[in-house]
């Protein structure tokens, strides 16, 4: 038996795999189908089956591609996929290796819408702080829409009906189809260029399918609206249609007619406004005049202005008061001086000039007397002192002692106190109580 004719399964499968891989038609395949048996592996790879009415194919989407998908795939969802066809040799199955997957149809548009809305919201393009006020009375209104159709007709007829003195400028634009977004952006820039002195700009179109309205969901249109300096009212489709343009515009109108109503007031409104201004200032001015008249009347009514004499009377009385005060003051002063004068006149000295003399005399006598007394006292005191001194003198007289038998020896008028001062045969004088002796010394004893 020739065993060599039997192939290994793996070899066959590998061979088949190369057949797929080498086929240029299978390298890039676009498929449209519904997801079933969807399974998301914990490692991030997606395994599912794509099917249509009659057939099915296995599909795998590896993590590296799966991270890029912007929606949550699930069973029953219609999707558009892009990938290559190859064989999985371990199981002998062929499958599509999906690189890109998007929801099919309207779901796709809706997804784009949500994505852009989220992005622009995050950037702050919808923030109310950027919303410009729509002027109450525009001189000139710009309109970007198709030059034919219900939208422009509704807008113009509404403006004419409400406030015919408003000027309008239509900036015609494609509002659906491939080139609509560029056309709209171009006209927004033109209208906002400052050449047209617009007070407000209406951008919109009539109702249609979501695809028809799609230009108003384009990012470039949204940014052009955001960047414009002129206030913009968006009016796309019907009440229920919301577009990105509606979110970014300064004001959203439910319909083109609604936009025109927001853009201009009615003549009646303005008439009423002017009337109310007239009423207000009339009231104000008559109030003001009334108030001032009252004030004036009050002043004219005042007592002084009505009784001018009272001014004079008041002064008269004041003058009297001053005169009285002055008189009082002067007479008080006079009385005071009179009193002082009287006191002086009645003084003792002036009335008894001799008393001055008597006083001096008395003083003299007294002085004389005291002088006498003092002299006598001095004499007596001195006499007494003299006696004392005399007695004292007597007591201390060296000669006084001689009467008691002592004698005084002198030699050459010097008192001899020591025998050693004397030599034999010296002549000495001796004084006694009564009389003197002259003697010669016989012997000297020195003891």
């Amino acid at each position: 038996m020739d065993m060599n004719k039997y192939l290994k399964i793996s070899d066959l499968n590998m061979y088949i795999k190369t057949m797929f891989d080498d086929n240029p038609y299978l390298k890039k395949v676009y498929l449209r189908g519904e997801i079933s048996n969807f399974k998301s592996h914990s490692r991030g790879h997606l395994y599912f089956t794509l099917k249509d009415d009659t057939s099915r194919i296995s599909a795998v989407m590896f993590y590296s591609s799966a991270v890029a998908i912007k929606f949550a795939p699930e069973d029953g969802m219609n999707v558009l996929v892009e990938g290559r066809i190859s064989c999985y040799p371990l199981q002998g199955t062929y499958q599509i290796y999906v690189d890109k997957m998007e929801p099919d149809g309207l779901g796709n548009l809706y997804l784009e819408f949500e994505k852009l809305k989220e992005k622009l919201a995050k950037e702050g393009l919808f923030d109310s702080k950027y919303k410009k006020a729509i002027p109450k009375i525009p001189k000139r209104v710009g309109i970007i829409t198709a030059p034919t159709g219900a939208a422009i007709r509704d807008i113009l007829s509404t403006i004419k009906r409400r406030f015919p003195i408003t000027e309008t400028i239509l900036f015609p634009a494609l509002v659906q189809g491939e080139y609509a977004k560029e056309d709209i952006v171009k006209q927004i820039k033109e209208a906002d260029s400052g050449k047209y002195d617009l007070d407000v700009l209406i951008i919109g179109r009539g109702g249609g399918s979501i695809e028809d309205l799609w230009a108003f969901n384009e990012e470039c249109v949204a940014r052009a609206i955001f960047d414009a300096r002129v206030p913009i009212i968006s009016a796309v489709g019907h009440e229920v249609d919301f577009t990105i343009a509606d979110f970014v515009a300064d004001m959203r109108a439910p319909t083109p007619t609604g936009a025109a109503e927001m853009a201009v007031p009615t003549v009646n409104e303005i008439n009423n406004m002017i009337n109310s201004y007239e009423i207000r200032i009339n009231e104000f001015i008559s109030n003001l005049i009334h108030k001032n008249k009252l004030r004036l009347d009050n002043i004219l009514d005042s007592f002084i202005l009505k009784n001018p004499l009272s001014l004079y009377e008041l002064k008269e009385q004041a003058l009297d008061n001053y005169i009285d005060t002055l008189n009082n003051y002067i007479s008080k002063k006079l009385d005071n001086y009179k009193l002082i004068l009287n006191n002086l006149e009645s003084s003792f000295v002036l009335n008894n000039p001799m008393s001055l003399f008597d006083l001096k005399k008395e003083r003299l006598i007294y002085t004389e007397k005291s002088l006498d007394t003092n002299i006598n006292n001095i004499i007596i005191k001195n006499t007494h002192s003299y006696q004392i001194l005399l007695n004292t003198l007597k007591l201390v007289n060296p000669l006084g002692i001689l009467d008691k038998g002592y004698s005084l020896v002198t030699k050459d008028n010097i008192i001899v106190k020591n025998a050693s001062n004397i030599c034999e045969n010296d002549i000495i004088n001796i004084r006694l109580h009564k009389g003197k002796l002259k003697a010669e010394v016989r012997e000297v004893n020195y003891e």
Partner: protein, 71 residues
């Protein structure tokens, strides 16, 4: 140059607010009042005798032409 309706109305609005602020002396208040009443009359006349403005369209050559909606 003739004042535009919008400017006249804006001026009128300003005068009313100024008067009502109460910081105006009698003499100038009466002047402003007179002016405001003139403006009110002017605005009313303009508003109610105004003929329709013609609608314009910007052409490809960037020129403004009269525009009528084709039915």
């Amino acid at each position: 140059m003739e004042k535009s309706f919008e400017d006249a109305l804006k001026e009128l609005e300003g005068l009313v607010k100024e008067l009502e602020s109460g910081n105006v002396e009698l003499d100038s208040a009466i002047d402003k009042y007179t002016e405001a009443m003139k403006l009110a009359k002017y605005c009313s006349e303009k508003l109610n005798t105004a003929t329709d403005k013609v609608n314009k369209i910007l052409t490809e050559s960037k020129e403004l032409e009269n525009f009528e909606v084709s039915e």
